[in-house]
Amino acid sequence: MSQSKLKTKTKSTQASAKPKPAWEPRIVSFCCHYCSYGAADLAGTSKMAYPVNVEIIRVPCSGRVDPLHVIEALREGADGVMVTGCLKEQCHFVTGNYHAEKRMQKLAKDLEDIGLGGRLIFELMSAGMAGKWVETASSFYEHILELGPNPLRRTKPEVKCE
């Protein structure tokens, strides 16, 4: 099979498998340097695809993620926020992921109260768990796709940068 034919074939199968979604969510993921960032790296190294709209901000530890950072991301127009850290008992900073879990669980409840429920998830994975990263990113993307755009987008007056 020639190169061009192969290309067309890949393209058509992909296109038929996944129709273009009605809208494109933007998802921000906070990843800890030691584990989940490594999992995302490994997903890339292993050429495992996940939705292109999931974009990563690196933090030293999930324990560094302030609930206010999540709120800021939503205020800036993110449709969903992922906070990811190391597995239990495997946090590079011993207890960071426990603190993060506690904070994010509380924040998730608060977000529900103000009409932004379901836009935050907290997941734990080791640097070797590329599969879990891809699965988490993909399923959260689908979830947000269904949930619809972040209502706060309407209040953000204009784009700051094209």
Binding site: V28, G38, V52, I57, R64, H69, E72, E162
Partner: protein, 662 residues
């Protein structure tokens, strides 16, 4: 924070075709030119190459750049490289920022070829986020911490002793802390060990001598550089590299090791008899006893739990070495580094293969004691139930190891131990039949194969099989239902069944890890910094691992690791100081309300309260930022990950999102 205007240079890398195949790299570089504070933007084929790095340096000069962004691979790979590059160009390394457009863009989205535009868009987003963040970066310096030439080694087994003797020979002072009354660890309790068939209390050659030394010649106790603490545990531990504070608690021995001549009279007269913990129920000891025949220090120890304080031993002691009123004592140490070498324990397979029900089902450790010429049976191989020599000894491998129900790991030494014992039995009692039931024989090591062949030549039966059932026969023998891996089934009768039980983390390892503020894995083994690249380092600077405390190891590996840990611990001690960058938490004391929330959450005890405000020990702080989030007054910030730096990165990432845009 410098007041100079940020002049950002953006260098987008094609990484050959790794990035360029999926991302329109020139378009990304072109796009970055219009972002705020960007003074230069361009692309290269391989930014990490010598040439690429020189181009960065040239542009820094030419465009007077003071913030550098490289959009290429993962910062986990090349952040240190480029930090060095910008440093060489006279820029503080913390003014460097990386956008990961390979692992997180081109490689992850290369299959979605029709998303070429989207991948390029994502690369632009990440570069924009980096540019916004770069404007907020600050210059961060470093500090030096003195490291005194003193190391504490916890655990005096093979690994701990190897590390201690090497460090002492290199001129460092060593505090060797051992929980039990005798040195040598598990190996010293065995009569002889795998491969060399020598006794387990050999210590490596020292001072250039070729001959091995025997522990009992007091090579360690007499070394002026090594301070030995037996029956001692670490009760408190705090501080940081160069300044670790340890509080040790030593239980009373009851016997002065310096005056004792080991005449043995005290042991003779002692009226109390209790089962010897080493002898698995087939031997007794007195309340004053020698922990094992070759125990070092060479003096008995009083078991104060069972001692009735009748005073008979004190009366007969010719040198007045026994003091039954001795109290426990505590010692405070300040050390520069520490090595954890706490070893392992053996899995108790109670309920499996009738262990604990039938006295003729024993562990390999007990078999070693039985065959030890200095052991409870004077080296005679007999069954516990009838004191008769067994005609057929069966051994079951992987008891608790490679078994998801108990421990999924291979315990590394069981094949060696079983074969060693099988060979010993065949050499001393050739008429005794020995059968080893195994899943796989795993012998990797210098000369190990030779030993395996020797066992085969001596007629040891090797059966690759599972034991599906064990029944007791009338004479307390065992009837094994054997299912061979090739499908054949048979029953085999043995007189003595020996279980090769798994190596587990040492009892109390989790508690010690908690005291030392270290990480353990889910099973309780200490976690190394990196499995392949840094197996003796830990996430705490200045603390190193040796031996089976981090994973099952054999004696040779424990020696390697002891030596490796000693050489790692010697690095900061030989330099006398360590450089610590200050990308750490910092307190604005004018805002601090003294609530001590930060103090409570810090996993490294790097925060203390003084004069109503929190203070940070910068050398101890690891820069996790847990405290920053906890602070209700916004008084703590983490340098390099300040709130404003994270906010600006979020703002940059989502700057193209608006009411009208996607």
């Amino acid at each position: 924070m410098t007041s100079e205007e940020p002049r950002i240079g953006v260098f987008v890398c094609k990484c050959g075709t790794n990035i360029a195949k999926v991302v329109d790299v020139p378009a990304v570089a072109e796009y970055a030119k219009d972002l705020p504070n960007v003074a230069y933007s361009g692309w290269q084929l391989f930014t990490c190459s010598e040439e690429g790095q020189n181009i960065i340096k040239d542009h820094i000069k030419k465009h007077k750049l003071n913030r550098i962004i490289v959009a290429s691979c993962s910062p986990k790979l090349h952040e240190p490289t480029f930090r060095r590059t910008v440093m060489e160009a006279g820029i503080n390394p913390f003014f460097f920022e990386m956008a990961n457009i390979r692992e997180h863009v081109s490689w992850a989205h290369m299959k979605q070829k029709d998303e070429y535009d989207e991948a390029t868009q994502k690369a632009k987003d990440l570069v924009r986020a980096a540019v916004f963040r770069a404007s907020q970066l600050e210059s961060i310096g470093s500090t030096t911490q003195k490291v005194p030439p003193v190391c504490m080694v916890i655990g005096a087994g093979i690994a701990g002793i190897t590390a201690s003797t090497l460090l002492a020979d290199e001129g460092y002072e060593v505090h060797l802390v051992e929980r039990s009354p005798a040195l040598g660890g598990k190996a010293a309790q065995l009569g002889f060990v795998f491969m060399t068939d020598t006794c387990g209390v050999c210590v490596p050659p020292r001072h250039g001598e070729m001959a091995r030394k025997c522990l009992s010649k007091r090579v360690i106790l007499n070394d002026p550089k090594i301070h030995v603490y037996t029956q001692t545990e670490v009760k408190h531990f705090g501080g940081y590299i160069g300044n670790f504070q340890a509080k040790l608690e030593t239980q009373p021995r009851g016997v002065d090791i310096d005056t004792c001549t080991l005449c043995g009279k005290c042991i003779e007269v002692c009226p109390v008899e209790v089962p010897h913990e080493l002898d698995f129920g087939f031997g007794n000891r007195k309340a004053i006893y020698l922990p094992h025949p070759q125990a070092v220090p060479r003096s008995p120890v009083v078991d104060f739990k069972n001692c009735t304080k009748c005073g008979k031993c004190v009366e007969v002691c010719p040198v007045d070495a026994i003091h039954l009123d001795e109290q426990s004592k505590s010692t405070d140490l300040t050390v520069g580094t520490a090595i954890v070498a706490t070893g392992f324990d053996v899995f108790e397979p109670t309920g499996l293969y009738q262990y604990g029900e039938n006295p003729n089902v024993i562990l390999q450790l007990a078999l070693a004691r039985l065959m030890d010429p200095l052991g409870p049976t004077d080296g005679k191989l007999i069954r516990i139930s009838d004191k008769k020599p067994p005609k057929h000894v069966g051994m079951i491998q992987c008891v608790g190891s490679r078994d998801p129900e108990y421990y999924s790991h291979c315990s590394r030494v069981c094949c060696q131990v079983a074969i060693k014992h099988a060979v010993y039995i065949k050499e001393h009692w050739p008429d005794t039949e020995v059968t080893i039931f195994y899943k796989d024989i795993r012998l990797q090591g210098k000369e190990y194969e030779r030993y395996y062949l020797k066992a085969q030549k001596l007629g040891v039966n090797f059966h690759r099989a599972d034991i599906t059932d064990v029944k007791e026969t009338p004479n307390k023998g065992l009837k094994l239902a054997v299912e061979h891996h090739n499908g054949d089934k048979e029953t085999v009768n043995v007189d003595l069944l020996v279980l090769s039980a798994a190596m587990t983390p040492a009892e109390g390892a989790k508690e010690l890890a908690h005291t030392l503020n270290m990480e353990v894995d889910l099973k309780g083994f200490f976690r190394e910094y990196h499995l392949k690249l840094a197996p003796v380092d830990t996430t705490t600077d200045g603390i190193y691992l040796a031996g089976a405390c981090s994973s099952p190891r054999d004696i040779a590996e424990a020696s390697f690791m002891g030596a490796a840990a000693a050489s790692h611990a010697a690095i900061p001690m030989s330099k006398g100081e360590v450089q610590v960058d200050l990308a750490k938490s910092i307190v604005d004391e004018s805002l601090c309300i003294g609530c001590a929330n930060c103090y409570a959450v810090c996993p490294y005890s790097a925060i203390y309260m003084e004069g109503g405000v929190a203070k940070i020990i910068e050398v101890a702080c690891k820069g996790c930022g847990i405290c920053v989030v906890e602070c209700p007054a916004e008084a703590i910030q983490l340098r390099h990950y300040r709130d404003k730096q994270i906010y600006s990165q979020i703002e940059g990432l989502l700057a193209n999102v608006g009411a009208t845009k996607k």
